[in-house]
């Protein structure tokens, strides 16, 4: 696929860079941020639903959750794309990836809520606190302490899964690199640039995530 014999050409690297960076900012980051918000909220709804709904309803929610969680994002994207033909692919992709990751986050919430000591629940009963207050003032703050690092890790994971959106014609970084490659018959620079942007972004966010984890540890009673 190369038109000359050199492995790396700085000219091509510089030429490919701007478009790829643009896709990073306008597509990859946007999808990740909005998708994470959807996932975090929907995940909490699922977790609370499983816990508080009557047994049969909770069982159905669990089954659906597991079904989405254990089946490929790619197939879910394709399914949505061909059903909701009027919705712009990037919007569809963001929603689907948000739903997919909501199922992961629901599990994290569940584990975090389970980890709150039973004594806390008993104390709220002894004080006759309402369910609303129990959740918002006592349980969720404590559950969040252990769930936030795991949630952060899933956000980073979603970030690295955004290329899957290319199967429904969304042009994100990797697809942009591929487009550059097929137009100019030079693929090496483009894909390496895309990879480097992912790598740098990942390492930075991992460092931030780890710092967040340390910060949360210090504030434990």
């Amino acid at each position: 696929m190369n038109d000359d014999n050199s492995f790396w050409s700085w000219d091509h690297a510089i030429a490919a860079f701007p478009d790829i960076l643009e896709k990073f900012l306008t597509v990859t980051l946007v999808v990740t941020i909005i998708g994470s918000i959807i996932a975090a909220i929907l995940g909490l709804v699922i977790a609370l639903g499983r816990r508080t709904a009557p047994r049969p309803v909770a069982a159905v929610i669990t089954l659906l959750m597991n079904f989405v969680r254990m089946t490929p994002l790619v197939v879910q994207l394709l399914f949505a794309y061909y059903v909701f033909t009027t919705v712009p692919p990037i919007v569809l992709g963001t929603i689907i990836i948000g739903i997919h990751y909501a199922t992961y986050m629901a599990e994290v919430y569940r584990a975090g809520i389970d980890a709150v000591p039973p004594g806390q629940w008993e104390a709220t009963t002894a004080l006759s606190m309402s369910p609303g207050r129990t959740w918002t003032a006592v349980i969720i703050p404590q559950a969040l302490r252990s769930t936030l690092p795991a949630l952060a890790n899933y956000v980073i994971s979603m970030f690295k899964d955004t290329p899957f959106l290319m199967v429904i014609t969304v042009v994100e970084m990797v697809r942009q690199a591929q487009l550059y490659g097929s137009k100019n018959f030079r693929f090496v620079e483009a894909i390496i640039i895309a990879g480097l942007i992912y790598l740098v972004a990942s390492l930075l966010s991992s460092l931030l995530a780890r710092r967040l984890e340390k910060r949360l540890e210090y504030t434990t009673a």
């Binding site: 696929m1 190369n2 014999n5 492995f7 089954l63 597991n66 079904f67 254990m70 089946t71 490929p72 994002l73 790619v74 197939v75 879910q76 394709l78 399914f79 061909y82 059903v83 992961y104 599990e107 994290v108 569940r110 584990a111 975090g112 980890a115 252990s146 769930t147 690092p149 795991a150 952060a152 890790n153 899933y154 956000v155 980073i156 994971s157 970030f159 690295k160 899964d161 955004t162 290329p163 899957f164 290319m166 199967v167 990797v174 591929q178 490659g181 693929f187 090496v188 894909i191 390496i192 895309a194 990879g195 992912y198 790598l199 990942s202 390492l203 966010s205 991992s206 995530a209 780890r210």
Partner: protein
């Protein structure tokens, strides 16, 4: 509806082929991943800074870049000079899947080994067991039971990751589903596809749960065999099998 089933019947041979390719990718990828995971996981614990650095670099490289970047790199760039490696697309898929998930697995392996209680390490010192011997006979067997839940999560993710290889011309289950959609309809084709993937994932989880129960039995920790029949691989709090 019946036309759908007729179309399905006609497409069945190809569909089965697709499933087989998906299973090949999953099995091959998993095998490579576990080798990479244990190799890098142990290497990352060496005292030699150089070796540890190599392990760290490889782990961060494959965890930090996306699966698709790696897939495309191996598919498009490897055949070029200076590498000039040509291989069947399926091998490329297995390579990318194995290295990517193996890097995540390395963190799981490393974390599990570190989780083995300090007293066990101290007992091996008190008995003067050599480093290799204690890892082989005492530490790793105990770490194995600890790492299985997270490895289970990774295995399911690997299975899901195979669905994207059709982009590098591999005719896996998803590729066949795309064809089936044309002959039937969206709901039927992808609905069926999701069910097939779910069934495979469920069976894999059963297998891993059985492995975990067996590992726990060997450590004298009970656990009923009945408990291994669940859908959920155990969630890992830190997302250890996942990102970062």
């Amino acid at each position: 509806m019946t036309e759908n089933f007729e179309a399905l019947w006609r497409a069945l041979p190809q569909l089965v082929d697709g499933v087989l390719i998906t299973l090949q990718l999953t099995a091959g990828g998993a095998l490579l991943a576990i080798v990479v995971a244990i190799g890098l996981g142990l290497l990352a614990r060496f005292e030699n800074v150089f070796l540890r650095g190599i392990a760290r670099t490889i782990i961060e490289l494959f965890r930090g870049t996306s699966l698709l970047v790696q897939l495309f790199f191996f598919f498009f760039v490897l055949p070029l000079p200076p590498f000039e490696i040509e291989m069947p697309a399926v091998f490329t898929g297995i390579l990318a899947l194995g290295l990517n998930y193996g890097a995540y697995g390395a963190e799981v392996v490393r974390g599990s080994i570190n989780s083995v209680p300090a007293g066990q390490w101290e007992a091996t010192t008190a008995l003067s067991l050599s480093r290799t011997h204690r890892m082989w006979r005492v530490i790793f067997p105990q770490a194995w039971a600890l790492m299985l839940p997270s490895l289970n999560n990774l295995l399911i993710q690997l299975l899901k990751g195979t669905a994207v290889v059709y982009l590098i011309t591999i005719v896996d289950l998803t590729a066949e589903l795309n064809k089936l959609r044309v002959q039937t309809d969206v709901y039927f084709a992808y609905g069926l596809g999701l069910l097939i993937y779910f069934a495979i994932a469920y069976l894999l989880t059963l297998g891993m749960n059985a492995l975990e129960t067996r590992a726990k039995h060997r450590l004298g920790q009970g656990g009923k065999w009945r408990d291994s029949i669940t859908t959920t691989p155990v969630p890992d709090m830190k997302g250890a099998g996942q990102a970062a």
